[in-house]
């Protein structure tokens, strides 16, 4: 009995995602595919212990779910008068004339099912929260509980979000097909935004080291890889993958908890950086033209400059400051200005950086932005103004959600250490 349950679990985990994608494409309805597969699983749990596990459990689930979905469609067609519902039911009936002519489940899986599902889940017509939730559930295959835990919402809330999003896919007619060439750039852009958010959530400093967090990061890298085949020359997509590899390279080091380039590892931690990931990021960036780089390419280039420095003191701060300048012009934001202030402070002397940082303090939105205070604290230290530096460090500590970093701040250690300054 337990052997059967194990078999079911194994099939479930490995093939569930593929079966749902394949079913959803054929039915044009992700919610229906989900529901049908749930019922197929229930049937498996009832039948397999006595009938035995089929030779091809995945195929069994696929076929059972398919038949169940058709039953639902036929029932809907009877209930809803109107040509459209009947048309849909007739369409799916044509595809399945009789059990003897059932499509081979192996034929139902297309090579690009994952990509198609990813693009559908990331359609710009869906809110960013919906895109992230759908992608993690139906492309990455995380459970609702895992996703809810990652985003600190109750599981019921996350389930409702998913149901609403699947309803929109069905009701608004978001096609579960490869997009038309003209739509590709916007669809990629929308998908990149969701993947980037998944990564930053996983990388957020609020819960360092938790397993769900690491899961999100590695899923995000995998998802970014899935986007490339749609347009291998899309430089922002290349930039995203490069950036994620470069951020992952530093993820395991002690101070790698923040995605902010501000938090620089001292030399001891640099030894833990993954040179393989850095090389991969460098390789990817090298394939881009460097002409009119988008924000992701720029962030990747900055990350590469950090990753390439053997010691913190070897960092090319001037080049980084320049890149932040270009980035700020493309996507102006006070957060980017704060990072630029730090780079300028390291390149041209602390006073130059403090000039920018102090102006930013006028912005009320930044009062609770811990990195800005940490930036000021570091530059003030370098300028020899230790009393003001301590005050800034206190502010940074107050606004830091991450226990590890807050402790370091409170103990007075500088975030940017490079040994003998």
């Amino acid at each position: 009995m337990s052997g059967t349950t194990d078999a079911i679990e194994r099939v479930w985990l490995a093939e569930r995602r593929l079966i749902v994608s394949s079913l959803a494409r054929r039915l044009g309805d992700l919610q229906l595919a989900e529901d049908a597969l749930q019922e197929a699983l229930a049937a498996a749990l009832l039948r397999w212990p006595s009938d035995g596990v089929p030779d091809s459990p995945g195929a069994w689930l696929m076929t059972t779910a398919w038949r169940r979905a058709l039953d639902v469609r036929r029932r809907e067609a009877r209930l809803v008068s109107g040509d459209e519902a009947l048309e849909r039911a007739v369409d799916t009936d044509q595809a399945l004339l009789s059990p003897a002519e059932e499509p081979d489940p192996d034929d139902l899986v297309h090579d690009d099912d994952t990509l198609v599902m990813l693009l559908a889940c990331c359609h710009p017509a869906l809110t960013i929260e919906a895109r992230v939730a759908l992608t993690l559930r139906h492309v990455a295959g995380l459970s609702v509980d895992q996703i809810a835990a990652a985003f600190l919402v109750p599981a019921g809330t996350m389930e409702k979000r998913l149901v609403r999003a699947r309803a929109k896919i069905r009701d608004a007619g978001i096609a579960l097909e490869r997009p038309r060439p003209a739509d590709v750039p916007e669809r990629l852009s929308s998908a990149r935004a969701a993947v980037y958010l998944i990564y930053t959530e996983g990388h957020s400093s609020s819960r360092p080291g938790s397993p769900v967090r690491r899961e999100l990061c590695s899923e995000a890298v995998w998802l970014a890889e899935q986007l490339l085949p749609l347009d291998p020359f899309d430089e922002e997509s290349i930039g995203l993958l490069a950036l994620l590899h470069l951020l992952e390279a530093r993820a395991d080091s002690r101070s790698g908890a923040a995605a902010s380039e501000l938090v620089l590892a001292d030399d001891q931690d640099r030894a833990q950086w993954s040179q393989t990931s850095i090389a991969r990021g460098r390789e990817l960036l090298a394939t881009t033209s460097g002409i009119d780089p988008g924000p992701l390419q720029l962030q990747a280039a900055i990350a590469l400059l950090h990753a390439s420095a053997p010691r913190s003191a070897d960092t090319d701060w001037r080049r980084i400051a320049q890149l932040y300048g270009v980035l700020a012009r493309r996507t102006p934001s006070p957060v980017i200005e704060a990072h630029r202030a730090y780079a300028v402070g390291r390149a041209d002397g602390p006073q130059a950086g403090l000039l920018i940082a102090d102006t930013l303090l006028q912005d009320a939105r930044l009062r609770s932005y811990a990195p800005l205070h940490a930036i000021r604290a570091d530059l003030l230290d370098r300028a020899g103004q230790s009393a003001q530096a301590a005050a800034a460090r206190d502010l940074a500590a107050r606004w830091t959600p991450n226990d590890v970093q807050r402790d370091r701040l409170l103990r007075g250690s500088r975030l940017a250490g490079d040994g003998g300054r």
Binding site: G82, E84, A125, D171, A172, G173, I174, E177, P179
Partner: protein
């Protein structure tokens, strides 16, 4: 699938009641929709100053002057189109001539709910 394209105009962009310079563009747009066979219906509307709204929140029907939407953007027209999916509808929506002056809401029609009759579609 049937989609309703709701067209609006934002008077903050231009003080003309409806942007005069795009009247020809609307004809061209309508012709384009009709020529590929996706046009089911559509119409242009008189300005919001001609609108009358009926509300029934009190036992007596409350009839007031003006549109029901309390926003500066107001409806100027609609199209009812029949296209395969949302992306096809959006492809048409982005080509609507009022992009500079307002926006287009794309709303799917509930299957089976379209009432038959000439009102449903006279371009």
């Amino acid at each position: 699938m049937l989609y309703l394209l709701l067209l609006t105009h934002d008077p903050a962009v231009t003080t003309a009641p409806v942007a005069d310079d795009i009247i020809d563009d609307w004809s061209a747009y309508t012709d384009a929709l009709a020529s590929v066979g996706v046009l089911v219906g559509g119409a242009g509307l008189h300005g919001p100053e001609t609108a009358t709204t009926v509300r029934r929140s009190t036992p007596e029907a409350l009839v007031t002057d003006g549109p029901f939407l309390e926003s500066k953007e107001y409806l100027i027209g609609y199209y009812l189109i029949d296209v395969p999916d949302l992306d096809a509808a959006l492809t048409w929506a982005v080509r609507a001539p009022n992009q500079r002056y307002g926006s287009v809401e794309v709303r799917p029609v509930m299957p089976g709910s379209l009432a038959p009759g000439p009102g449903a579609g006279s371009p």
